[in-house]
């Protein structure tokens, strides 16, 4: 009889691998449920069901200022006769790389109102249509906004209006 030493070494490796398979799955049995649970709890709650503004917004009649951008969209700051309310009108008339290329073709971009100390989400835009957003009243002379692509985590544009330009 002449036992094969070379063979024994290889066989030992197989036994270790068999054990390692089980060890890995025991580890996954702990880590994967934790990972799923943690990620699931982090899901923003009902974000798609909450309307940031009423769907039907009364269009204010006075145009204060209009700005066009990149041949793709223009935005207008509107107000009423008393200048007690302000409104941002956002009209997309040609689909840009941003509005057409994201997972959600429509309403994929976020528009924020920039206040002195914070960014306030006004709503979502995208696709060829007009959007109207009522603006908070503040004491400053201007309104500033940024457009943000949440999928690429990228600021696309920023725009400012002077309230008293007209």
């Amino acid at each position: 009889m002449s036992p094969s030493l070379r063979g024994s070494k290889k066989y030992a490796m197989i036994k270790i691998l068999r054990k390692r398979h089980l060890q890995i799955w025991i580890l996954w049995a702990v880590l994967l449920p934790i990972g799923i649970l943690v990620a699931w709890r982090a899901v923003p709650k009902k974000i798609t069901e909450q309307l940031l503004q009423p769907e039907q917004v009364e269009i204010l009649p006075i145009y204060i200022e209009t700005q066009a951008r990149k041949g793709e969209y223009f935005s207008t700051l509107n107000t009423n006769r008393e200048r007690s309310k302000y409104q941002l009108q956002w009209q997309i008339y040609r689909e840009s790389e941003y509005s057409s290329s994201n997972i959600y073709r429509s309403k994929s971009l976020l528009i924020y109102y920039v206040s002195k100390s914070n960014y306030e989400l006004l709503g979502r835009i995208g696709g060829k249509q007009a959007y109207y957003f009522n603006l908070p009243i503040d004491s400053s002379d201007s309104y500033s906004f940024i457009i943000y692509d949440p999928f690429r985590k990228k600021r696309i544009d920023s725009i400012s209006f002077n309230k008293i330009s007209k």
């Binding site: 094969s4 197989i14 982090a42 290329s101």
Partner: protein
């Protein structure tokens, strides 16, 4: 079975299997695309492709990872194991389409190199909801790529079974990365609970299967036998053997397969030289012990692959006394011819 490179050894079974895989994938993608076109006509073609390939790849990965433990628990699944590599390469190709189109969609429109953009456009590593999930998918794809390109036996022989097997065990890491890629990626946007439920069911299914099969293996390894008498250990009754099949016994921490062939018993080492497949779970085809994993063959009486192949495994002495089977667990040199005792 040779070290030299040879193309995939197609046979009728493999062709049928591959056509089934191809047909299933095409059917799945078409169904997904048609349903999306009907219910969500606003989606672009790229978006539909990204989504359909991602879900298909995840589904295939679950099937692939189920095959191993299923085959251990039930021999009916062994044909799937035999063809598993083709399914793996198919899955990588589909995941690759998902990866390429995702990078094109999300990272090629700016002036930054897409791969740089992939890792720098989102650096919210401290946030779970905004975690850069695409990087997880990218690393998983790299693992799948390495597995796919080394899937041929040419690489198994050249890398050595140990390195090859270790490399291919990284599929478990890839699976973990993919689950987390889905959870901190798509699930954060597609908040319907059905998606979490589906991925959770997949995870529970795989964990359960692998733990059951793994525990069964440990039990096999811990089989207890009475001390040897004159070097031989009693293992079983002779009438418990089925013609052309084997029983596996783990003696002194080594697995030995005892085959019944033409009413004689032959014992060989249980581990196939190819990928460490369990020879005792195969059967005798054309007079050869055939590995259930990839069809490598060995002659029962000497553990040698039939010419021109050169693989060899160790053989053992078997004795039959009064209807009882005894094995001497000391192995002979690989390829040593041994006498097979008659059962009756």
């Amino acid at each position: 079975m040779s070290v030299g490179y040879s193309a995939v050894g197609w046979n009728r079974q493999k062709k049928i299997y591959d056509w089934l895989i191809f047909g299933f994938c095409v059917l799945y993608l078409l169904t997904f695309i048609i349903l999306t076109t009907v219910f969500n006509p606003d989606y672009t073609f790229e978006t539909v492709l990204i989504r359909s390939t991602s879900t298909l790849a995840v589904l295939l990965l679950h099937i692939i990872l189920s095959i191993g433990p299923l085959a251990r628990l039930n021999k009916k699944f062994l044909p799937l194991l035999y063809n598993r590599r083709h399914l793996g390469v198919t899955m990588f190709c589909i995941a690759g389409v998902h990866g390429v189109f995702s990078i094109m969609q999300f990272h090629t429109l700016g002036n930054v190199n897409p791969f740089v953009s992939l890792f720098t456009s989102n650096t919210n590593f401290g946030s779970i909801a905004d975690f850069p999930f695409q990087a997880l998918g990218f690393f998983a794809l790299i693992i799948l790529f390495l597995m796919a390109i080394t899937s041929h036996d040419f690489w198994l022989h050249n890398l050595s079974p140990k390195v090859w097997k270790t490399l291919h065990m990284f599929v478990y890491l890839a699976y973990f990365l993919i689950v987390m890629h889905v959870m901190v990626g798509a699930i954060q946007y597609e908040t319907h609970p059905v998606f979490v439920i589906l991925i959770s069911l997949g995870v529970v299914w795989l964990i359960t299967l692998h733990l059951i099969a793994g525990t069964k293996e440990v039990k096999k390894d811990n089989q207890k036998f009475n001390p040897a008498v004159e070097g031989f250990v009693y293992v079983s009754e002779a009438n418990e053997f089925e013609e052309g099949r084997a029983k596996i016994f783990c003696i002194d921490k080594e697995r030995i397969a005892v085959y019944k062939h033409e009413n004689k018993l032959y014992a060989i080492h249980n581990v196939c030289k190819h990928q460490g497949g369990p020879l005792g779970e195969g059967k005798i085809l054309d007079g050869c012990i055939t590995c259930p994993w990839h069809g490598y063959q060995y002659l029962p009486h000497n553990g040698q692959s039939p010419p021109p192949f050169k693989e060899k495994v160790s053989t053992y002495d078997v004795r039959v006394r009064d209807g009882k089977v005894f094995i001497n667990p000391t192995p002979y040199a690989e390829g040593t011819e041994r006498f097979g005792p008659l059962i009756n």
